[in-house]
């Protein structure tokens, strides 16, 4: 899964492309963990190019969330399609993340 990284206003924006499943979730999660551990404590994950997230993907997102809490940073998610939003709702993950609509809102919340 391709991951595009960008910086804006002190926020690291991570944009994964494709499916977040049992094959791709671990490399994605490892990369986000590495970014957090090496100093990125304000992270926005833009999900606009993600087709779906399986339980492995949610596990990786939770790991990132727990880690950024240890650093007292901010992890925000944005860009969810209706299908992705539904998965968050089914799995009761909506309350566990700061979720925004647009990237601009997300950058603002993550700072």
């Amino acid at each position: 899964m391709q991951i595009i990284e960008a910086q804006s206003d002190g926020v690291l924006i991570v944009e994964p492309h494709g499916r977040m499943d049992s094959t791709t979730a671990k490399p994605f999660g490892d990369r986000v963990v590495e970014l957090i551990r090496t100093g990125s404590h304000h992270v926005l994950i833009d999900l606009r190019q993600v087709l779906y997230i399986s339980s492995a993907g949610f596990r990786s997102l939770l790991i990132a969330r727990k880690l950024i809490d240890e650093y007292k940073g901010n992890l925000v998610l944005c860009g969810m399609s209706p299908e992705i939003k539904r998965l968050f709702e089914i799995g009761h993950f909506t309350d566990l993340f700061m979720i925004c609509g647009t990237r601009e809102e997300g950058i603002d919340k993550a700072r």
Binding site: R19, D21, S22, T23, Y52, L62, D69, G91, F93
Partner: protein
């Protein structure tokens, strides 16, 4: 009904071939991307469980994924020759908790039950068979 099937080994590396098969099937019969993504998500959950837990260490196995389509309906059947196991017998996952305490175990099969219209398990001969069915708006 239009069918397509593929055999893979019980190896995580083989799962991407199934993803491609499902996408090709979806394009051929003009099934919406939303439905194809749901099928692929469910197959990811089922196959990764079989590959992770369905066989003794180092055992080689064969998993068959069989897709079916007719107007208004899609199905995916997963057959494996691993140890007898009915994934539908597990209790519901714990969906409560904070970001610190939340567990993800059991969520996979829960997604499958929520996204599909019907999920059924049978043991046939020496194989576990799980069949997923979904109605598709025409």
């Amino acid at each position: 009904m239009h069918c397509l099937e593929m055999q893979i080994r019980n190896r995580a590396d083989d799962m991407s071939a199934i993803v491609s098969m499902v996408e090709g099937f979806g394009l051929k019969y003009r099934i919406s991307a939303t439905v194809i993504n749901e099928i692929n998500l469910c197959l990811d959950e089922v196959l990764s469980n079989i590959i992770s837990y369905g066989y003794p260490e180092n055992a080689e196995g064969e998993i068959t994924v069989r897709l079916g389509y007719e107007p208004g309906r899609i199905s995916a059947e997963i057959l494996d020759d691993g140890t007898p196991f009915d994934p539908l017998q597990a209790g519901p996952p714990n969906l409560s908790g904070t970001a610190q305490t939340r567990e993800v175990g059991g969520v996979g099969i829960y997604f499958v039950k929520q996204l599909m219209d019907d999920v059924a398990y049978r043991r046939v001969g020496n194989r576990n068979t799980l069949i997923l069915r979904k109605k598709i708006p025409t």
